[in-house]
């Protein structure tokens, strides 16, 4: 912070950003119930406020005043701290996300971001990795089998998908050449190879974009990847033993991570708050970036809701297969590809437009490989399950034996 900035500016930035995300989360919960309700041919909450929009508020008040039951077997203080970790990690993540452009107020010019760290992207990754502790410790501290299962599932899931996500983000900052979020947003501000086409990284870095989007669903623990709290199998998963305010915190953290993840993907791949301002006067022009950012984020939030309404939960081993055998290799290859042509285009003086086209071409190839690869994975895992009663299933040679009997001589 420059010494000349008055104290109210950072305070205002912080308040605005946090209020924005909190409000967004509240609206998300309402929207989810309405949209899923519509998908299931029912109405959803419609009593409180216009269209039931205040339902979340009332629910929050209810949770706040509900009796907070602490089972006697739990392991305090970890039981108490666990829900807080998730909420805090969620709130801290949004600190580096710019929700709008430059704003001038009372003669002070500032950006709608809490802190534009020069390692902002890493900050996002670091905090999302800390988010694991919330579910994980809650599951353990509950001292109960289902929550423990949920906690272990969630930690394995999040670690796996963090790698893929981190690699996807790596190709973004290799392409942009900076770890600073504002630099990445600025680099996407221009137009793409065709006039009018946006310069979003989702286009040249399409495989990374796909990996990130899939990864973020898993990272947020949302359907179809909500194995950690699968109610059909684990009662409520890691939060089975929680009630009242602390359960509310888990809910807040989960829904907030939906919003935060959407905001991150918008920032890194879809240009963040950039968008046309339609020649509005300066006094109100600052509204447009906020509007664009909100619109893009809302689109992703809607995507999350549609996933929840439309897709059944995956099996756990399929989830792990997808993460380790598809997403991580694709993301890894993509980082290499990106790094290679950043170097090549710098050395060869290839223009930005050509580079984008090259990237799109390579992206198509990688995606094609991804699709064929996934089909093979699916086939292999189905075979695994069919062979469940096979007494020989622990035998590592099992696959090799029937398929290729000429491979090796089997010793007597």
């Amino acid at each position: 912070m420059e010494p000349s900035t008055p104290l109210w500016v950072p305070v205002l930035q912080t308040l605005v950003v946090f209020a924005y995300f909190l409000l967004f989360t509240a609206l998300l919960i309402w929207a989810e119930r309405r949209v899923v309700g519509r998908m299931q041919s029912r109405i959803g909450p419609n009593r409180i406020g216009p269209g039931g929009v205040l339902q979340t508020l009332i629910d929050g008040v209810k949770m706040f005043f509900k009796e907070d039951v602490t089972p006697s077997m739990v392991n305090n203080p970890i039981y108490t701290v666990a829900p807080l970790v998730g909420v805090i990690a969620g709130f801290l993540t949004v600190a580096v996300i710019p929700i709008g452009g430059e704003v001038t107020l009372f003669g002070e010019e500032f950006t709608l971001v809490v802190a534009d760290l020069h390692v902002g992207v890493l900050w996002v990754l670091a905090l999302s990795s800390l988010h694991v502790y919330s579910t994980f410790l809650a599951g353990w501290a509950s001292n109960s089998p289902y929550p423990l299962m949920g906690g272990i599932r969630s930690s394995a899931q999040m670690i796996s998908y963090e790698i893929a996500q981190g690699l996807a983000v790596a190709s973004v900052f290799v392409y942009a050449g900076s770890l600073r979020v504002s630099d990445i947003v600025a680099a996407q501000a221009g137009s793409g190879p065709i006039a009018g086409m946006p310069g979003w990284y989702a286009i040249p870095l399409f495989p990374a974009f796909v990996v990130f989007v899939v990864g973020m669903v898993a990272e947020a623990g949302r359907p179809p990847f909500d194995l950690a709290e699968a109610e059909g199998e684990l009662v409520g998963g890691f939060h089975t033993e929680y009630s009242g305010l602390r359960f509310g915190m888990f809910m807040l953290a989960e829904f907030m991570s939906v919003v935060v993840m959407s905001a991150i993907v918008v920032t890194l791949f879809l240009g963040g708050p950039s968008g046309p301002t339609f020649g509005l006067p300066d006094a109100v022009a600052w509204v447009m970036p906020v509007f664009w950012f909100t619109l893009k984020t809302a689109a992703f939030v809607f995507f999350f809701i549609l996933l929840r309404g439309a897709l059944p939960r995956t099996r756990y081993h399929r989830l792990m297969d997808l993460g380790w055998k598809v997403l991580i290799p694709v993301a890894l290859v993509w980082v290499l590809v990106t790094a290679a042509w950043v170097l090549v285009s710098e050395a060869g003086g290839i223009s930005a437009a050509t580079r984008t086209w090259l990237a799109v071409g390579a992206g198509v190839i990688v995606i094609a490989l991804l699709l064929t690869g996934e089909r093979q994975t699916a086939r292999a895992t189905d075979a695994d399950v069919d062979a469940w009663d096979d007494p020989d299933r622990d035998d590592p040679d099992r696959d090799a034996k029937p398929r290729a009997p000429h491979d090796e001589e089997v010793a007597p």
Binding site: A126, S129, V132, L137, M158, L179, A411
Partner: protein
């Protein structure tokens, strides 16, 4: 506060000093908690806290990159795996941590000795007037003590250290960097070997030249059978380091 003032001359402000003290106290407190808490999971959580506060201390040294990496790698990745293993194996019982009095006294004495020596060696010279630190520090003269390495890091403009680190890795330290890749490969192969449930089928037949009886129990499993000859062979009477195998 001399040390902080020396290594971070641009800090100056009181806020930075406050942050330093807060993180320093958390770091020390959590480190003590790690070794004194009887519950393994509590200890591990304290270790997470310790790593986070070390990350905070890196921030007061204006090394945001190192700080975030510390949180990401140690706080996020390594400790999650740590906890994962603790929970999966169910080793969170405190009876594993019983240490007898002698061990305890020895451990405390050794720790105190090391800590004292390090404190004496660091805090003495590096906080005295004779210490030469900071980005603009001249080369140390006779009788003066240089702050190792810090000056090099401060040559970088933005202080983030990321660029400096990357450049070092790919120029000065190429060879160890590639060796580290080899290390990871070895670790991966080792993990695969240890995790695989079963050996491959024996593929060759030169076992034939062993007498048939011998071939049957070549496995080490049967070595523990207490036959007379085995018992005779077991008169192992050496000094420390001997472990009697349970038969």
């Amino acid at each position: 506060m001399t040390l902080l003032a020396q290594v971070a001359p641009t800090a100056g402000g009181t806020a930075e000093v406050v942050v330093f003290w807060v993180f320093a106290v958390i770091a020390l407190g959590s480190a003590i908690a790690v070794i004194s808490l009887r519950n393994v999971v509590h200890g591990a959580v304290m270790l997470v806290l310790n790593f986070l506060s070390i990350g905070g201390l890196f921030l007061t040294l204006e090394s945001a990159f190192l700080s975030v990496i510390q949180v990401l790698v140690y706080g996020g990745a390594i400790m999650v795996l740590f906890l994962f293993v603790i929970m999966l194996l169910g080793v969170d019982r405190d009876d594993l941590l019983q240490a007898d009095l002698r061990t305890r006294v020895l451990a405390i004495a050794g720790g105190a000795l090391l800590a004292g020596a390090v404190l004496f060696a660091f805090v003495g010279p590096y906080t005295s007037e004779a210490s030469v630190c900071g980005p603009d520090a001249p080369a140390p003269g006779p009788g003066e003590v240089a702050c190792a390495g810090l000056a090099e890091a401060y040559d970088e403009d933005d202080g983030a250290g990321a660029r400096f680190l990357g450049r070092s890795l790919f120029t000065t330290y190429t060879y160890p960097f590639e060796l580290a890749a080899l290390l990871l490969t070895v670790a991966t192969i080792g993990a695969v070997i240890l995790a695989r449930r079963r050996d491959l089928e024996p593929e060759d037949e030169d076992l034939a030249d062993l007498d048939a009886a011998a071939a049957d129990d070549l496995d080490g499993d049967d070595l523990d059978g207490a036959s007379g000859a085995a018992a005779e062979r077991h008169v192992a009477g050496d000094g420390p380091g001997t472990t009697e195998r349970g038969g």
